[in-house]
């Protein structure tokens, strides 16, 4: 009797890693398209989907805002992921930055003073986001509580804090709509004509990338973060407190995500609508996809961000059998990420087929 057995084995030399996101993207897209085709009884035309993607490719100027925001969130999450601290709380950090920035613009009395207002929005925004992330890091650092459920649940707490503020004390008073008043125009980021991008956002994207690059490659903290992700034991032996590294990694990560939050508020939304849970652009989650697809290499983050923003833009314009863009986009994002999470192990492992004869 012959038996086949699949055995997973560690590779001696890892494969070139950049191949995997590309394969994942292709296979994921195929699977998503097939799923949609069958689920809608053949009514969804794959061509429409591909057209949407191609259209998005042809009009990069429309993508740029999402691209920039995703790059910032992606690189922010990357900082934490490098330490193997899984920051799933991007959404919460994003919104805390928005809360702080909105406060500056609307209620601090300084909202209309040029330069000062934007500066304060940024500083307070990233501080608020950083503090929210720091809070999430404490159970992990000191008690070993898994940061994944903690950061994730804190997203919801953040949503509800936003809901409370906007439903109550911050609500715009003119028509009593469930939103804040519009931010004063002095606080709006300046649009780059012909695109959806703003100057400040562009600058901040570059700043975020450079900051992450510098932090991880040229500072001791960055080295600790990177080593923490591959071998935390070594850090102990050399005399580094691992709980400090965890706290720092998450906090800095949150701060960078906060930059994206402020930029979103000042470049696109100009106000906060609720319920946050449904109104959110969900960049904290799609940012996770970007960070993963980039395989935690800063150079690849913009590329991954670009690919994901193509999907997002394409999805918005597509309606499959009446289902809105978000559902379609989610199918694509989910498929690609799923295939990627499975394929990524092949850079480190390979599968051996063992034939056992009895």
């Amino acid at each position: 009797m012959v038996r086949f057995e699949l055995v997973v084995v560690k590779r001696v030399k890892p494969l070139p890693r950049w191949v995997i996101p590309i394969i994942a993207f292709v296979i994921g897209t195929l699977i998503a398209t097939t799923l949609l085709y069958f689920l809608t009884g053949g009514r969804s035309n794959p061509k429409i989907l591909l057209d949407g993607i191609v259209n998005a490719l042809m009009t990069p100027q429309l993508l740029l805002k999402n691209f920039a925001l995703l790059t910032i969130v992606g690189v922010g999450l990357l900082i934490s992921f490098k330490a193997a601290v899984w920051n799933i709380g991007g959404e919460g950090q994003f919104y805390f930055a928005i809360i702080a920035a909105a406060w500056v613009a609307l209620f601090s009395g300084l909202g209309k003073i040029v330069f000062v207002n934007k500066f304060l929005m940024l500083i307070l925004g990233l501080t608020a986001a950083g503090l929210w992330a720091l809070l999430a890091s404490l159970p992990r650092a000191f008690l070993g509580v898994d940061e994944v459920p903690v950061t994730l649940l804190m997203n919801y707490i953040a949503y509800y804090i936003v809901d409370y503020l906007v439903f109550g004390p911050w609500r715009e008073q003119q028509y009593k709509y469930t939103r804040t008043p519009t931010l004063p125009t002095e606080s709006w980021f300046i649009n780059i004509p012909g695109t959806t991008l703003t100057f400040e956002l562009l600058i901040l994207t570059v700043v975020a990338l450079v900051f992450a690059w510098f932090l991880l490659n040229y500072t001791r903290v960055g080295l600790m973060i990177r080593v923490m992700g591959s071998n935390p034991h070594v850090l102990r032996v050399v005399g580094i407190n691992t709980y400090k590294v965890i706290m720092i990694a998450l906090t800095i990560s949150g701060m960078v995500v906060g930059i994206a939050g402020v930029s979103y508020l000042a470049s696109e939304a100009h106000l906060i609508t609720i319920p946050a849970e449904t109104r959110t652009p969900a960049l904290g989650y799609t940012g996770i996809l970007v960070a993963w697809l980039s395989m935690l290499e800063i150079i690849y983050v913009p590329i991954a961000a670009y690919i994901v923003s193509i999907l997002l833009t394409a999805g918005i314009n597509i309606q499959i059998a009446g289902a809105g863009g978000f559902s379609v986009t989610n199918v694509f994002i989910g498929s690609i990420l799923l295939i990627y999470s499975i394929l990524v192990i092949f850079s480190e492992y390979k599968i051996k087929i063992i034939i056992k004869k009895r």
Partner: protein
């Protein structure tokens, strides 16, 4: 060193287990080289040997964790192929190793019922109760089977595992260093159980590196060295000296003179250990009241078989393991249970055991690993300086690498070790603690590393406290030799007082 063949000396019943010409190779090393031996029913059979002799590999083959490259195994006269522990259990072979496989959060009964095929999924655990209690009684463990395993002492866990072997219907019980860490009282109880078990017609194979243990309980002793069977001796014919010589063989010196003129040993005490007690991972004491004073510039080597507390001792000194009782003083500063960072700052270098896990990050480059040294403390990493230093180290220690920007995992084991040694040796200004500093290195490289350590100590007064599985190394390098056995220092010898036989004896008593 002749192979003694048992068949010629007595008319014996058929062996319950025959291992014939078993060979097992791993990349770069021959672990077992045509091993043959027999175990008879109703006997307790000891497997003795130094670390690396092949004992563990052999029993892992018997238990199906490895498969032999060549050779045959016969159980009760029938040739068998064992490819998994499940197979081994079918043939009545059950192994208990020194690390328990029991699951802490489950109770004894729950752990045991997992192994018993006869109980189906929805059977209540209570059904197995009686059977389990009986097995526990046989190993003289009086404890409620509904006790969670985390509450048990190490000894009790071992006994539960032996009870499990009984429940599985073991005919050949293998204990891989399972008795080595038990307290004397427990050992005696266990040994009487072994005899009972053997009297019922079963066999016990005990792996140990403790000669006295082997002599106390076994009917036969088989000695392995460097993957070969050296001899099998009947208990009546075995003496301490004979077995010791079988284990260690003739002393071979490399002939290269390591040490030159003796330097001056300072007056100041750099490291002082006072009645130190340290627990191991499994909850029992591994360091049992050691005391020692080391003076500036001294090189002290611990001779001892791996697993006698050297590791836990060094981890305690480095602040990586809790000291339960006693004190550690470095240069007059009480460093007992202080954070590693504090200890490092005193100028202490550390070459840990298991360098791939605790010493270096294999995903990162050589330069990045050098950068981890506590000497580079600045917020902004001084890469220029580090690159220069790394290049210097590569030259000085002869590290073979395509460059300092190559990920460590692409280097050979020996060069990884050299990188670690170079980093720590360069950093250490007060004290160097080293565990197996020349692990995985070829003769010449090992010599060079020892020479580096020796020269640094003589020239800059660095105090060195190291442990090595290689007795030759300890004897070559040390000003004083400490023999460690079962968590205690059982002998301290000045260089000129060293008598190799005596030390070997102390190591295996």
């Amino acid at each position: 060193m002749s192979k003694q063949n048992l068949f010629s000396t007595q008319s014996s019943p058929t062996p319950i287990l025959v291992v014939k010409n078993v060979t097992k190779k791993f990349p770069g090393v021959v672990a077992l080289d045509r091993i043959s031996f027999e175990v008879f029913p109703g006997t307790v059979h000891a497997l003795l040997g130094e670390n690396g002799a092949g004992k563990s590999t052999l029993v892992k083959i018997l238990y199906g964790i490895y498969t032999p490259d060549e050779g045959e195994i016969y159980v009760n006269g029938e040739k068998v192929s064992i490819t998994s522990p499940r197979d081994a259990i079918k043939y009545g072979i059950v192994m208990v190793s020194q690390s328990p496989i029991l699951i802490d959060r489950l109770t004894i009964a729950e752990n045991l019922i997992l192994s018993l095929k006869k109980y189906k999924l929805f059977n209540s655990t209570r059904k197995a109760y009686d059977e389990i209690v009986k097995a526990l009684e046989k190993v003289q463990l009086e404890i409620d089977p509904n006790t969670e395993v985390y509450r048990l002492t190490y000894t009790q866990k071992q006994l539960v595992e032996i009870a499990r072997a009984l429940l599985l219907g073991a005919k050949i019980l293998i204990l891989d260093e399972a008795t080595t860490y038990l307290p004397e009282v427990e050992k005696k109880k266990l040994f009487s159980f072994f005899h009972q078990f053997a009297d019922e017609g079963n066999s016990v194979i005990v792996i140990t590196h403790k000669l006295t243990e082997a002599l106390a309980i076994s009917d036969y002793i088989t000695v392995l060295r460097r993957g070969k069977t050296v001899a099998t001796v009947e208990r009546g014919k075995a003496t301490i000296d004979l077995i010791r010589r079988y284990i260690f063989g003739e002393a071979e010196y490399s002939g290269r003179k390591l040490r030159g003129d003796e330097g001056e040993v300072g007056e100041d005490i750099v490291l002082s250990l006072k009645d130190l007690w340290v627990k191991g991972d499994l909850g029992d004491y591994r360091v049992k009241g050691v005391s020692l004073d080391i003076r500036k510039g001294e090189i002290i080597g611990i001779a001892g078989i791996t697993g006698n507390g050297q590791l836990e001792l060094f981890e305690a000194i480095m602040g990586l393991r809790k000291v339960d009782k006693g004190k550690i003083i470095i240069n007059g500063v009480n460093t007992t249970n202080k954070p590693t960072r504090f200890i490092r700052k005193l100028g202490v270098g550390y070459i840990p055991d298991n360098p791939l896990r605790y010493g270096l990050s294999t995903e990162h480059t050589l330069a990045e690993n050098i950068a981890l040294s506590p000497v580079y403390d600045e917020f902004i990493i001084p890469w220029d300086r580090i690159y220069k230093d790394s290049e210097k180290l590569v030259k000085k220690y002869g590290i073979v690498t395509p460059g300092i920007h190559t990920p460590m995992k692409l280097l050979s084991g020996g060069n990884i070790m050299k990188t670690l040694v170079s980093r720590e040796l360069e950093y250490a200004s007060t004290l160097l603690i080293a565990y197996n500093p020349t692990r995985g290195l070829d003769e010449f490289t090992a010599y060079k590393v020892r020479r580096n350590i020796y020269e640094k100590s003589r020239s800059s007064g660095l105090t060195v406290f190291f442990a090595s599985e290689d007795l030759d190394e300890v004897l070559e390098l040390s000003d004083r030799v400490v023999v460690m056995n079962s968590g205690r220092f059982v002998g301290v010898f000045k260089r000129e007082e060293v008598v190799r036989d005596k030390i070997e004896e102390l190591m295996v008593m």
